[in-house]
Symmetry: D2
Subunit: 310 residues, 4 copies
Amino acid sequence: MDAIGVDIGGTKIAAGVVADDGTVRAERRYDTDPGDPAAIEESVIRAVSELREEHEVAAVGVAAAGFISPRRDAVLFGSNIAWRDHPLRDRLAAGTDLPIVIENDANAAGWAEFRFGSGRDAEHMVMATVGTGLGGAIVVGGCLLRGAFGAAGEIGHMQMVPGGHYCGCGHEGCWEMYASGRALTRAARAAVVAYPDRAGALVDLAGGPKIKGPHVTQAAQAGDPLAVELFEDLGFWLGAGIADLAAIVDPEIAVIGGGVAEAGDLLLEPARESFRSHLSARGYRGELTVQLAELGNEAGMVGAADLART
Amino acid sequence: MDAIGVDIGGTKIAAGVVADDGTVRAERRYDTDPGDPAAIEESVIRAVSELREEHEVAAVGVAAAGFISPRRDAVLFGSNIAWRDHPLRDRLAAGTDLPIVIENDANAAGWAEFRFGSGRDAEHMVMATVGTGLGGAIVVGGCLLRGAFGAAGEIGHMQMVPGGHYCGCGHEGCWEMYASGRALTRAARAAVVAYPDRAGALVDLAGGPKIKGPHVTQAAQAGDPLAVELFEDLGFWLGAGIADLAAIVDPEIAVIGGGVAEAGDLLLEPARESFRSHLSARGYRGELTVQLAELGNEAGMVGAADLART
Amino acid sequence: MDAIGVDIGGTKIAAGVVADDGTVRAERRYDTDPGDPAAIEESVIRAVSELREEHEVAAVGVAAAGFISPRRDAVLFGSNIAWRDHPLRDRLAAGTDLPIVIENDANAAGWAEFRFGSGRDAEHMVMATVGTGLGGAIVVGGCLLRGAFGAAGEIGHMQMVPGGHYCGCGHEGCWEMYASGRALTRAARAAVVAYPDRAGALVDLAGGPKIKGPHVTQAAQAGDPLAVELFEDLGFWLGAGIADLAAIVDPEIAVIGGGVAEAGDLLLEPARESFRSHLSARGYRGELTVQLAELGNEAGMVGAADLART
Amino acid sequence: MDAIGVDIGGTKIAAGVVADDGTVRAERRYDTDPGDPAAIEESVIRAVSELREEHEVAAVGVAAAGFISPRRDAVLFGSNIAWRDHPLRDRLAAGTDLPIVIENDANAAGWAEFRFGSGRDAEHMVMATVGTGLGGAIVVGGCLLRGAFGAAGEIGHMQMVPGGHYCGCGHEGCWEMYASGRALTRAARAAVVAYPDRAGALVDLAGGPKIKGPHVTQAAQAGDPLAVELFEDLGFWLGAGIADLAAIVDPEIAVIGGGVAEAGDLLLEPARESFRSHLSARGYRGELTVQLAELGNEAGMVGAADLART
């Protein structure tokens, strides 16, 4: 039966009616202010209400960034919005009789890829969402892995480099600091200082030293050697971490999504090569494939809806 | 119903009849020569045959070190014995009508702890077997995680240090190189060279510079500062890796077994402290406990038997 | 004969008449605006002019942060002030007949310690100035080491951690990112996020999460465990780098100065311990001592004056 | 005036009469047994005696591997031969009236390159001798840098990777473990395990998995991709360390010698590229060149002779 999925991002909300086969029947989007959580909740309630007027739905799934309680009713620690131990389900449930579940946004996106996207033929899958940060979702035996405390799949906080780059979480060397949009931007800006003679194309595109991720993608697609190298570095670290996930979880596919993955093979080819060069016992064991996500930025909404009805 | 468990080690075989509740009704042990695989298979067949004479059993589970095929019938790559794509199940099945399954030895030990030992009240568990190497087992939602290719739980080959110590697998910086008996021995011998003035107690115990793991344990238990420090270093790396597993799998318990774990709190206390200092989002998320294994060196046999009947 | 020393800092200028024995006969200080280089030059010229009215001097030495030309006449790349290939000597020489030399500020401070401070009995010395950044000076055989291009002693940009923290120079893992005031501040702020339960004293002192170096010093001196640990970490990296310098330059003393060194043994004891644990061939080779600088923040001025007359 | 130079290696001694311009007038070579130090001393005495019969010489310089006393009279810690605090000068002086000095072998080789080889036009030079290990020599202002305790230039024991490969000195991550013949061999053998499908050429050349340095050189010269990559990795680490030396000592030339350097540009090109990518403030400072050594394996003998007469 149809369900509503809502994806609460930092600056916008996407809500849609999602059919059993993952197609989106109707959709609504609102701009939001991450500094006004009350307004965000109102927008979600309004979106659900409007969508229900025209569609019969069984449940509502809400995706949000951060740590979610194991019972799927609260945001323990929001990353975009300053929710702390926030009972989001109860806040949204007022005035509706539908069952509501709260999901981590990367888990929701991963679930959508597993059900309807690149992972639809897999039984064991990991997904890395390479956006501003690095989110993850893990599916084992056809089930989303939530863990004992709801925190499974926080792959971005696996440590890659002891003494490495500071992460926003207060620790050093988290994978997210080497394989994310933030990492790409940071490395590009550092390269402008370290190798000024090579950074001309990037600086021109950005109109100065404040380079952003899409500038690097655009320059790399045009063949700029430094930009290509920045994606090779990112891919190196991405592949290294996927090899770690293979050692632990051993999935048959690693799906790469998020905005940075729009660079496609500029990112995926180095990631595959690095994965192969890091994988232990290669040649004596089966080996996952690294694939691009298929569903784009609707994945969170679609996955949240699907998780709500299961 | 009772089942037979067999644990094929590098230099000995342990076989026993294991009841539903994990108790061992009868047991046989044989010394073996890892260089003579045919003799090992004969010993296993003989042990099973002898045990069956006095006990009614439903199945046989065989634990071996290395990569096991997903169908649990072959050793793809043995670590102690030079088996490569070896159809061990068929070789052992000749002349018996019992169902036989082959299991990775660390998986078997972990399963035993999950069912009958420190993890018996858990639903999600990781076990780290700190022996000569570092083996792992992961249980999620009450099921042993085998992965798509049978290689899940190979936690010892997660990379901890880019450019770090060479591992026998040909890669650099594997966790096993920092948290295993081999790591302990290596660090102790390096310390003799680097800090000769502090290594007196260890050299005395070992009768020279060829220090072995039990010497370090003994010295640490007697309060030797260098030996205590070597366990602190080991615990530091053990805890760091457990924090990675918490980020990925999020279990409620990490069980530490293997010969090196006999040092008890000398190893576990630093591991716990390091785990806490490495865990992302600490204070906003539930947190696993680090516990000693309970079953000792019968765990592999018990777990293999139990996995055979399920 | 007496000489004038001028130390051009980011926000102030100190100028003084320095006697042959390093004593300061007269001194002047001015606040400056790093964004107004012309005004800075005028202040220097005025200070020199005023000091000469009452003192007979032979030369002027000017200390500035950044890369200095090998001929000691230009600032190739200023760190506090945006000088690029700036002919500072010629700009200051207008209207005076005195010889003028430009020196790197850390070199000047190191030279003062070598001549009149903690290094006065040494022949081979390194000095690490642990201020906002990490500056260095190296003396071999009684001579300040300037190198082929005037860039010797830039010890803060030795790489300590491949893939480590980003440095302002655009590279990763520079020593300065692990052993400087900036490192201390950064680590303290990260600790507030990672270990909120331990950071109470620091947050109270700072009136919020924007902790500064002196807050850490003050808290550590009062015994706050987290602050003490932050200095231990800093000392660990400081000592590790000193062991590298011992392997390369092999001095008999390492002098530690700069604002962060005001923490004294809270920093120096861990640095000494780390140095000892990192030094190769310890016990078979002579070993430097790690000592606190003696001259305080007049060192740059005194050293610049002394270098001008030699 | 002519002088005799003696180079005591692990398995042979080379002795020669060296003219003021570095030419070798006569030479003698003996095989030796590193396990028989007395026989080695006898061979040295005999060689000196024979050479003197036909040549008038002013002094004898003896190069040996290990830490040498600052007074140049003893081997404090031999690396090839088990000398500990061994008064080598007095042992050799019996029966001769010539002045004798003992020198570190890498220092001697570096000095020869500085006087007569690739560094002859330089004033500040570093030399890296990439043999089995990684030896170093540093010349500043035309003088060999010996340091306060005779241990300057031990560049191979600078730490490159915290937690990195174990070094024979008992520490982790020494530069020698990443840029030496031993590193090359070790990496090649690890590659056979990690990437069996790529190691065919190397295994064929070596007739099995026990690959040695010259096999890698030969394979790389024939274009084998894995062998070329192994030299690229070695060059990467070599260049990274040279950038550290540039930050500290700032020479105008880095000379690369030793047996591994016979690979020429296969090693030097990646080293140059890595040096450039690691150098701080590149573009705002003068920059050394990385050059091949010119004198081959006579360098130690020639340099020892030359140091003896100065």
